[in-house]
Symmetry: C2
Subunit: 458 residues, 2 copies
Amino acid sequence: MAYMQLLIRFIAGFVFFFHVEVSAQGNSDSLVIRKIFEEALTKSRCYDDLGTLCKSIPPRLSGSVGAAMAVEFTRSIFEDEKFDRVFLQQMMVPNWKRGDVCSANAQIGKVKKDLRVCALGGSVGGNVTGEVIAVNSLEKLDSLGRKAIENKIVFFNRPMEPRHIHTFEAYGGCVDQRWAGPSKAAKYGAVATLVRSMNLREDEFPHTGSMSYDSDYPKIPALALSTDDATWLTNKLAEGGSIEVSLRANCVTMPDTISHNVVGELIGTQFPNEFVICGGHLDAWDNGEGAHDDGAGCMQSIEALRILKNIGYKPRHTLRAVMFMNEENGARGAKKYAEWADSLNEKHLFAIESDRGGFSPRGFAIDSEDSIMIRKISRFRTLLEPYGLHDFKRGGGGVDIGPLKKQGTLCIGLVPDSQRYFDHHHAANDTFEHVNKRELELGAAAMAALIYLLDQEL
Amino acid sequence: MAYMQLLIRFIAGFVFFFHVEVSAQGNSDSLVIRKIFEEALTKSRCYDDLGTLCKSIPPRLSGSVGAAMAVEFTRSIFEDEKFDRVFLQQMMVPNWKRGDVCSANAQIGKVKKDLRVCALGGSVGGNVTGEVIAVNSLEKLDSLGRKAIENKIVFFNRPMEPRHIHTFEAYGGCVDQRWAGPSKAAKYGAVATLVRSMNLREDEFPHTGSMSYDSDYPKIPALALSTDDATWLTNKLAEGGSIEVSLRANCVTMPDTISHNVVGELIGTQFPNEFVICGGHLDAWDNGEGAHDDGAGCMQSIEALRILKNIGYKPRHTLRAVMFMNEENGARGAKKYAEWADSLNEKHLFAIESDRGGFSPRGFAIDSEDSIMIRKISRFRTLLEPYGLHDFKRGGGGVDIGPLKKQGTLCIGLVPDSQRYFDHHHAANDTFEHVNKRELELGAAAMAALIYLLDQEL
C-alpha cells in the first residue's frame, strides 16, 4: 500500500459508524482505558521480560531447574516493580524428564526414513519395533480388536479439522487421541503409539502435550509425529504393504518434587480482603521456549497490574498477578492456589487468565451462567470495541483459575486471535521470535482494562 | 494450555451471548457464508499460489521482468480456473531501477559505522558526503533555514507513534517525511536525505516507499535508514559533535514502459453488464517479495471468486478480480481501469480491495456517505460476526479502486489486523514465510462473503 494523498484521506475518514453513547461515568472510564492502552504501548516491559524468560532461562517444565529459575525471575520482577506484597506458594509437582534420546525410523523394504518425533509428556521410555497400524479414532481400536493390534505400533492419525474458525475447536476434536490413545492401544496389546501432531499446518515440528495412562493396562511409549511425516506415513500406508517403525526414548518419571506459584499483590484501598486476580502459567513444555504457552500470559498478567499501578490507579479490591506452576501436566498450582484461598477464607470476586497465546486480543470468554453478570460485562463492550475487543462470549475462563469457580468467583479468559496458536503450541518453534511486541502489549492492556472496569463495578 | 477435560468443557460452553435473529433469507445467507468459509479453509489455492508468486518470480516492481512474469502467472491462474473471460489492460508505467549499489556509513572522529539503508522509490542516485542534521518535521526546516541546512544531509527522524491502536494511523502521521522530505530539504540546499524507516519495531530492515520531487528544487538522493540505526544515530547526535555520513546509490529512472492489469471475469446471470470487482496490486517494492504488500491481496481476490465459482454460486452481476499494476509508484493501473470502465460505460456497483496485508480479517472500511447503504451493510454484521468480522467502519476503500468512486461505485477495503503490517511493509522481510495460511484464507473468504451479500442485495 502506498500513495500518500489517498492514504491520508483514508485515515482522516476513519471514524466509527456506531456512535458510542457514554454516560459521565462511561466518559471517565473511557479516559482511564485510553491511559491503560497508551501505557501498555509506550512503556511496557512485558516483551523484554518475556525475552529474558525465553532466552536466559532453560526450559521450565515442572520440577526442572528452569522452573525454579523462572520462579525467582518473576519474583524479582514483582520486587523490582515494588508490588505491595510478593510471596510464593509451595506445593509438590510431577517431575517427568524427557531424557536425551527420542528417535524413530520407518522401514519399508530396504528403505529407512527417520521420523520427526518427540515423547508425549508423561510417556515411559522404551526401545520398541513394530508394524504400524493407522486409526482415526479410539473407537476404531474396539472394532479392530486384539488380533489386529497386538505387538503393533498404533498411529493415531485424525488431523485437526481446518473448517473450524476458532482453532481451539479443532484441537478439542483431536486431543483425545493424545490423552487417552496410549492406554486404549495398550489394552489391545499395542507396543507403542504415535500420534499426528495437533497442528493445522503441515510442517516438521512434532508437538508434545500431556497424556494419561490407565493403570489397568501396560504403560507403552507414546510419541508425537510431525504433521509432514504423519502425511508421509499416511501416503506410504495407502500404497499397501507393511511398514515397520523402530522407536527409542529414554524419558522417565521421577518422584514428585517441590515447586511454587509466585504471587504479586497490590493492596485494595476499600476492600483489601476481597480479591481480583489475573494469571498465566509459568511452567512450559520443554521442547520449546514456552513463549506463547504461556510465558506470554505470565508477562501480560504482571504487566496488567504494573500498568494500573503506574497510571496511578488505586484499586478498590486487592489485585493479584499469579504465576501458576504445573498447568501442563497436573495443574497442581491451580489446586494449591484455590485450596490456599479457601483455607484463608479469601473471597475472590473475579479472575482472568491468559493462556491462549500472546496474539492480538479479540475479546473475552466469560464462564458464568449469571445473566445479570453477563449483562454487566456486555455493557463494557462499547468501551472496549475501539481497542479491537469485540468478542464477548460465554466460555471457559481457563485451567488455572477454574478451581476458584466453586467459591463463586467470576472466571474470564482473555481471547486472542487463534489462527497461529497451534503452529507453535507445545513445539520447538514456540519461541520468543514468534511473539509480536504490540500484540503482547495489547493483550496486557485488555486485561488491565477489564480488571479496572470490574474492580469499579463489583 | 493443556488438560483435556477442562478444555473440552470450555469448548462445549463456547456459545454466543448475543442471539442472532435471522430471517428465512438470513438463514439461507448464513448457510452460503458457512460454505464459503469451509471452501476457503479446506480447498483454497491462494497460499500455494502466493508461494509461487513470491518464490519463483523475481521482484515485480512496475517495469521489471518480474512484473511481466507476474502478469503471465496470474493470467494462467485465471485460465486454469476456467474463468469466463480473462484479459489484460495495457498501459505505460514508471520504470525506476534500484540499481545494485546503495550504501551509507557514518564517521564520528576516526570511527566509521556502516548504516543499513535502501533507496526510496523514485530517488536519484549519487555519491554524497555531508554532515548530518536531524529534524522531526518538515516545518523544522523552515525555522532552521538555509544556513543550517546547506550542504548537509537531512535526517528525518520522527518515529511512528506507538500509542495508536490502528497502525495505519501511526503510518499516516509519519509518511510526509518520506514523500515530501527530500525536496523540502533540497529547497534549503541539503545534498541528500535519510528517513527513519516507517516501522513500529526496532530492527535492522530499511523500509522503502514512494517519494516525490518538486520540480522547483534539485533532485537529491533520498534513502531510508533502519530503525535500529536511526536510534543509534539519534543517540550519537545527542552526545554532541559532528557526524559525517557518506552515501552512494546508483538508482535511476528509465523511460516509462508497457505493463498490464490482469482481469478475470465470471459473467453475471441477471445483470451481465453491471459489475462487482475485487482486487489487489500485482506490483511490489523490489527489496522484498511483496508477500503481504500486496501478493496477499491479489491471491485473495482471485481466491474470493474461485470460492464463489466452486461452491456453485451463480452471480447476478458480473464479478471481476483485478490485478492492478503500479500501485506503489504511480497507480497507473488504477487510472487505466477506471478510464477503461468509463469508456465502455460499464456500471460498477461495488468494489472491494485487499491491500492491508494477509492478516486475520477483522472487518471492512466503507467509503460511503450514503447512510442507507451503510445501514444495509451494517445488517450483514450479524451474519459475519461468527467469522471474526466485527469492524464495520467508514473509511477508505483503497488506492486502486478509488478512481471508480466518481462513477458512484461503492468502495470497500478489507480490514485485517494491523499490528504486524509495518514490521514487513516495503522491507526485505515482506516474505512468504511471514504469511499465515489460515489468516490469508480467512481474508479471501471474508471478501467472497461480502461479494455474495452485495451481489444479492444490489
